[in-house]
Symmetry: C2
Subunit: 195 residues, 2 copies
């Protein structure tokens, strides 16, 4: 890769990171390109040398995370984990996303409505698909008597939403360690599923 390209790519990367922070703090519509430019350290007009549009930035943030989630469950197919262990793995994965890639994950979860028509449709399809695959882990686990009878749909929504609660820890900071939070939440959510 040529030096100029590398430099450009890393500047774009900086813009995307700063944008994730600001979109999380204030929301996508309430973040102006001028605010963003200031936090990057350039003029608003100069942003457009690195990105196409405001909404392109949102797309990048969201689909990077969403693709990572999708890849994670794909990899589970090649393992010999039980159905319950797969659900546990997904739960831990989301908890870690929330704890270590807080800004981007938060933006995906809270700002996806502001995607433009086509990416929005793609996102919704991808998420529905994702939820359905998790539901099948649950229902197969119930069939195998690993998991208590429960509506798989409710179990999946509960797990995926519960993780959002860690947002508040991220705000208040430091009273508990990330490990404590993860272990307690896993014990609650996975323990509650065990047959």
């Amino acid at each position: 890769m040529a030096k100029a390209q590398r430099k450009k790519a890393s500047k774009k990367e900086l813009i995307v990171q700063k944008a994730a922070c600001m979109f999380r703090e204030k929301g996508f519509p309430a973040t102006s390109m001028r605010d963003l430019a200031e936090s990057v350290g350039i003029e608003a007009a100069s942003l457009y040398n690195h990105i196409q549009s405001k909404s392109e930035i949102l797309q990048e943030i969201i689909f990077r995370i969403s693709d990572d989630c999708y890849n994670h469950i794909n990899e589970l197919d090649n393992t010999s984990l039980s159905h319950l262990q797969k659900i546990e793995s997904v739960t831990r994965f989301h908890i870690q996303m929330m704890l270590t890639r807080f800004e981007e994950y938060h933006v995906m979860i809270n700002e996806w409505i502001h995607l433009e028509a086509q990416p929005l449709a793609d996102f919704i399809t991808q998420r529905r698909n994702y939820v359905q695959r998790l539901e099948s882990f649950i229902s197969e686990g119930i069939g195998a008597k690993e998991i208590k009878p429960i509506l798989p749909y409710v179990a999946v929504l509960t797990i995926l939403s519960a993780v959002r609660g860690l947002e508040f820890w991220h705000r208040s900071q430091k009273t508990y360690t990330p490990e404590e939070l993860e272990e307690n939440m896993v014990a609650y959510l996975i323990g509650g599923l065990k047959a």
Copy 2:
């Protein structure tokens, strides 16, 4: 109450209801007063005969719901419910809020960041207070051996966030009944706490 006042109050009510719908759909910053006026059926300027400002509407929506939540746990003090039963009652209360007062509850949960400085500070204080009182239900329940040992903070965040998952049911609509959702979620969240 004079007839003119009653009429005015109900018009304001209509504005607040329509605003709740639109804030939920598009978010507070992305909803313009012109959009809102159109959905009410008047000109944008005329809105200001009934309300003071855009942010006053947001405040009304949020504090109505938030006060109702707060009142609900206050009433629990006068009951002889066990600690676990109190947590169950709170869980059901939030599930019902999500199912029956969807727009306003959703706005409270997702748009509170857009409150102005003073109401924002009030909201954060009230919510922290609320969370702490729920934590004490949990820790007393653990002390009384009604509830499994768990970090009360994690249990409370998990329950309150889990309810947010029902947002997606509200979107997709009708595959399951509200009762099924409530009973399944309560079985999962409360069942998972039982000692």
